[in-house]
Symmetry: C2
Subunit: 317 residues, 2 copies
Amino acid sequence: MSKTLLDLVKETDVVPYSITSSFNSSDCFSLIAHDGSGTLGFMIPKVVSILFEQFPSDFIIDYYASTLTLASHLDTEPKRSEAFARIAKTLKEKNFFPEVLGGWRNELYPVYCPQKELYLLVERAASPLFGVITYGVHITGYVGSENSKNPKELKVWTPRRAYNKPTFPGMLDNTVAGGLGHPYGVLETAIKECGEEAGLSEEYARSRLVPAGVISYWYRHKYSPELDLYQPEVEYVYDLPMDKVTVPKPVDGEVAEFKLWGVDELLREMRAGNFKPNTALVMIDFFIRHAIIDPEQEPDYLEITSRIHRRFPFPTR
Amino acid sequence: MSKTLLDLVKETDVVPYSITSSFNSSDCFSLIAHDGSGTLGFMIPKVVSILFEQFPSDFIIDYYASTLTLASHLDTEPKRSEAFARIAKTLKEKNFFPEVLGGWRNELYPVYCPQKELYLLVERAASPLFGVITYGVHITGYVGSENSKNPKELKVWTPRRAYNKPTFPGMLDNTVAGGLGHPYGVLETAIKECGEEAGLSEEYARSRLVPAGVISYWYRHKYSPELDLYQPEVEYVYDLPMDKVTVPKPVDGEVAEFKLWGVDELLREMRAGNFKPNTALVMIDFFIRHAIIDPEQEPDYLEITSRIHRRFPFPTR
């Protein structure tokens, strides 16, 4: 059955809005900074139990308040980053959470404190265990709207994910996307990913990439029936207006093929559930910004727009 | 002192995020639908007391829960709209809240129920008393970016509000803006306001207006020291790319003059606090969408973007 655009948003922005920083439930623990200055993420009890059992000197647990607080000796960023590196490595070596840690990346993701400063670094694959915000950049490469009066005539270079990818194999995706690892900048990451994922030269990407906003939503990723992890995500969005000659090419084996899709085809595939869920939100944002989705035609225009710009009850960059 | 862009956002999106639909405080009453199906708005105690005292058969008050609920006999939209028309008219005749009801408009604003259906209509000037969401459309008329590689070269037609306007006299404003009264559509209102406020023909506006999203924020408007009213606002935003010959003209006396401002001048005036507060947010959204504000340069990019797309704990259209 065909989905509405709001259905697509609700499947990705799934965490109820009743969950705020003061939320307290036996099903959901808050990860708290060592000095109590703020909540860093939300965790499921199964992960909290294992963490506290394995690393009792690094955390303080309060079952009544449903909080897991970093121990007070973790009072500098290097100490915390070192502790989280040790924790992630130990969990992996002891074969805890293989569904999650099997995708080990050797990339560090930053977590921020309320002063917007770097609070700690954590291995990318381990970040969903802590339920912290992760940052990325998503790029929409498109052709043919600039001189057209009708934005519906534009076409988007859309990759199909490799059929052997562990996550969302064979689904449609944004032209280029990547995680924002430490210490790389947003534009720097966008340019790098254009090369790695689509074979576009640094010069081509740098001269054409246009920053166009940032979306955010609170996903839960079900790694296994018992590991339905909180995953608040922030994706900086860039447009990449392309000429008609340049063709993106699969480079790193993560993409099966690139195809140039028209707006109506894209909307049909989105409504059929054939896009990787979060990338459908990037397409919706693109379509709103390019006047393809219109407040006169789309009944959920306002709700869609506010939900894909979710404000989190956590400190951010 | 120069303000940051986030300062401008915080001055307009002023209501704390801890206020959710289940918020309960003696300083803030919820206005509840007759069947308990949802919260319609937030009201200050001073207004609640007068309403209940003057119209005891139309409301049920619960001081403990801090709620004002519509009486159960108001069980159809026409009955509710009739009651609210009578209430607003009576308050005006008895000279309650002259700071608010002095601006009587003879325009009806819609309030929606959780099913997104029309729940009641209320006189525009009275709507802030009930703290319900109001809807509008804001249009940015600009010149000269389409063929330019540098979006910072575009210029925006910016009016200065008439010095005799009761609200925000002499401040800078969006090119065109207007409230979304019942039963007019968003585009229809945009076209009408282009004519009424800037002297642009229906044909000119219709062929050029481009829908570009919707912003939302929760303002409090201090009509007087004791009347600091909750004012959740939704503004549909349209871009109006203009040719270099057409000049907007003040028509209805609400505008002192139109001037074509460059990006750097606009940012300077915004930071100096010379824009009507909510219109600065429309400019910020425009600048983000047109790559003038960049995530690499603006430290509060994410927080700004999420706060100007606030999701309200009320039903919306």
